[in-house]
């Protein structure tokens, strides 16, 4: 699978060293500007009751997206002060929770997000909240920076059963080849998408580091998979 059509890269050491206030502000501009425009549209009084409901729903969903980002930013700055306990968890169940949480936002954009996994019983060792936030981050990224195709969350056991890969596959524009080539270079910023600030990936990496996981991306001709690799629980071997 890792042939000429796709390239996999771990995203360690290749993301921005720290999110600046400016980066965070830029990232928040987009949802806030949209909320403002939607509110002004409501204020214009030119909307019927059906559209009013739709616009209000969009305001709520866009606000939730901005709030997710602000929560992630604040959480990422406090990682060093916190201890994150790792627990055995079923990643399939967690992935389904992420799918269920993102479904309304995807549906409002006329998009779909689904979970596909061939694995039946997986047990990972991870921090539930951080892993959930990483996947939400990837799913949010896939919605806003990819094309119109469905987004798929996948789970698979790898490395002879030593780790589990959870991936969010989209059908957006492929990462530019120059960006893929620079992934391993310490000084290079790797953005999730060319038009993205890279803040989301920085935060996802912080969360992954805090629970001894790694994140990476596989570039396909017709999109990308952003993934997190987490340790498989040894309890699985006892099952």
């Amino acid at each position: 699978m890792e042939g000429s059509k796709q390239q996999t890269n771990r995203l360690d050491g290749a993301v921005p060293t720290a999110p600046s206030f400016v980066t965070a502000a830029h990232e928040l501009k987009s949802p806030l500007a949209l909320v403002r425009q939607l509110a002004l549209h409501l204020e214009s009084g030119e909307v019927d009751s059906k559209e009013m409901q739709e616009v209000a729903h969009r305001i709520a969903l866009t606000s939730e997206r901005a709030l997710r980002l602000t929560t992630d930013i604040t959480k990422s700055t406090r990682l060093e002060d916190s201890l994150f306990s790792l627990e055995p968890l079923n990643p399939i169940v967690l992935c389904q929770e992420v799918v269920d949480e993102m479904k309304p936002l995807y549906a409002a954009h006329g998009r779909t997000i689904v979970l596909t996994s061939r694995a039946r019983s997986l047990l990972a060792l991870a921090n539930r909240d951080l892993l959930r936030r990483i996947l939400l981050n990837f799913a949010d990224n896939a919605l806003h920076y990819s094309g119109e195709g469905p987004v798929t969350i996948t789970a698979s056991l790898r490395g002879g059963g030593s780790y589990i890969r959870l991936g969010v596959r989209d059908y957006g524009p492929a990462l530019p080849s120059v960006m893929r080539k620079n992934v391993g270079k310490q000084s290079t910023s790797v953005h999730s998408r060319p038009e993205s600030s890279g803040l989301g990936i920085y935060i996802a990496r912080q969360f992954a580091d805090a629970m001894h996981a790694t994140i990476g991306t596989t570039s396909h001709r017709d999109g990308a998979t952003f993934y997190v690799d987490i340790g498989a629980s040894s309890q699985l071997r006892l099952l």
């Binding site: 500007a33 425009q37 002004l40 806003h144 920076y145 060319p194």
Partner: protein
């Protein structure tokens, strides 16, 4: 008289929808595209009278389209209105030679501003 044709190229579907409604209310014929590739395809079908263009989008950004427009005699003079969250970062002198007639800041603009900018551009 036929309605003036405005092409909106904007990756945020909800923002695009707001711009489209506002321009259609002003009796412009609006065509929408969600990225520069789709935008180029629409321009190939029919050259618009004005283009409202987001700056950062999935795939090629606005500069790629601006370069492309300047490469052909039938599109070189199409007025372009940039509509972006990062208006203060856009190098206005550099883009003025690419047919950009105004820059709208999404974070401060009023919904009516886009129609006013299109009217000025025509």
């Amino acid at each position: 008289m036929a309605a003036k044709r405005v092409l909106i190229i904007e990756d945020d579907q909800w923002f695009l929808s707001l711009l489209q409604k506002r321009l259609e209310r002003e009796k412009f014929a609006v065509v929408a595209a969600s990225n520069t590739i789709e935008g180029m395809a629409e321009i190939n079908k029919s050259v618009p009278d004005v283009i409202v263009l987001d700056f950062f989008m999935p795939g090629p950004n606005a500069l790629v389209l601006l370069h492309e427009l300047q490469s052909y005699s039938d599109t070189a003079n199409v007025p372009v209105i940039l509509c972006t969250n990062n208006a203060s970062d856009v190098p206005k002198e550099a883009i003025s030679s690419y047919g950009v007639v105004s820059v709208l800041d999404k974070t401060t603009m009023h919904p009516d501003d886009v129609a006013a900018a299109v009217r000025r551009a025509l």
